[in-house]
Symmetry: C2
Subunit: 227 residues, 2 copies
DNA sequence: CGATATATTGACAATAATGTCAATATAGCC
DNA sequence: GGCTATATTGACATTATTGTCAATATATCG
């Protein structure tokens, strides 16, 4: 009841002289641009504040628009979430496969692993995907499946090429899969609990880098031993 | 407006004869028992449905009480969350340190690692803690810090004992820390994305076990190489 | 320039969740 | 058996958030 009275203030504000139509200005973006800005803002909120930071009004404020505009572009909050998931999956896929499939044979396991960690920690991608998995939204949009499969295939090809060149035995495919799984698990884990654990252990940013290098070497040693 | 009319039904139900006071029965638990039941229900909801499954009314229904009873025992929803975090931290600490500090030297790295994975996947402990970290509730209740520190200390002691007995060089402490971090990260990661990745790779329950064994062997090999 | 499509908005509706409170039932104690 | 403390509850208040809608401004196209 008290809320109704408040809005009369805007009316008085508009009637500075006797203007019936204040003719307020608006910024009008293309639909794609608007969608991009909204997704960017949502991504940032999610990375910073977690799942509960995804409120339409907050995102709208960040972008500088009103919240119905978001509904207009994404139909519903769920639509926004789905779009965000789809975009993040796509970005992750491009980032990972792009680095792997570069054809640059000079890159070794350490490079690949470093890239995986960066791709997942960058912009809180792992946080977003984790939340998606925690809330059980993953069964429907099982894009992640394909990504994993593709990556393992690429890796296996690389190892087979390498083995053939060296004339050694063909690598075990399950071994390749397990390496990929461990790397993915560790990268996700680090994105979520890594900072806490590192802090607890008194590690600074540089210590985390040392950890990643240590891990890369562990994998490299394993690869060497298999040859 | 329409909601008011609905409740008259209960009145008619109560007036089977002319009973002014239906004298409804109640189950009355001790405060501790009630708190325990509520926390159990909240834990299950969280493990199954993620963060969004933590609604007072749902939990109350699971326990078979009304939602104000939860408020009575935990002050607020936040209070419930904090209590749940505290209990989970305690359980995890006991589980991990208990297994590690058992003084049983017959246990090797594989046993320890298996235990860590089980402790975190059991009851969705990792899911709960992940959510806690994702929502940024960890900085205050930094119990996790202590746990990590304690575990690394215990592990380091073990390695030093072992090295002394074998007469080999003392192990690097950072190496021990990194092993613990990797194990923790991997276990967390597996709890969150592991199932998805495993499914994507066509692994069944047994495949996941093989992965864990593979990981344990990887660590064991590393330990051997260090000696 | 005029018409059309649509991006944008303010106000409101609907819903859902937490939290408050007085009333009530029950266990434990004298 | 009566008393006291408190666990429990139904009804209600409060608040926050998503979603709807008609109105409006603006880019684009003829």
């Amino acid at each position: 009841m008290s809320r109704v009275a408040k809005k009369t203030a805007t009316a008085s504000e508009a009637s500075a002289k006797a203007a019936e139509k204040p003719t307020q200005k608006r910024v009008r973006r293309t639909a794609d641009e608007a969608r991009r800005l909204i997704l960017d803002a949502a991504e940032k909120r999610l990375a910073r504040q977690g799942p509960e930071g995804l409120r339409l009004q907050d995102i709208a404020r960040d972008v500088g628009i009103s919240h119905p505009a978001i509904l207009h572009h994404f139909e519903s909050r769920e639509g926004l979430v789905r779009a965000l998931i789809a975009r993040t999956n796509k970005q992750l896929r491009d980032s990972l496969l792009g680095a792997l499939g570069d054809g640059d044979t000079s890159r070794d396991a350490a490079d690949h692993i470093g890239h995986v960690f960066e791709a997942l920690s960058d912009k809180g991608t792992a946080r977003l995907l984790s939340w998606l998995l925690l809330t059980g939204r993953a069964t429907e949009e099982s894009d992640a499946h394909n990504i994993m499969g593709e990556i393992v295939d690429v890796l296996q090809d690389r190892r087979e090429e390498y083995a053939e060149k060296k004339g050694t035995a063909a690598p075990d495919k399950e071994d390749t899969l397990f390496i990929a799984m461990l790397t993915a698990n560790a990268a996700f884990g680090e994105a979520i609990v890594g900072r806490q654990l590192a802090e607890a252990a008194g590690l600074d940013q540089h210590g985390i880098k040392r950890f990643r290098k240590w891990f890369a070497k562990l994998i490299n040693d394993h690869l060497e031993a298999k040859r």
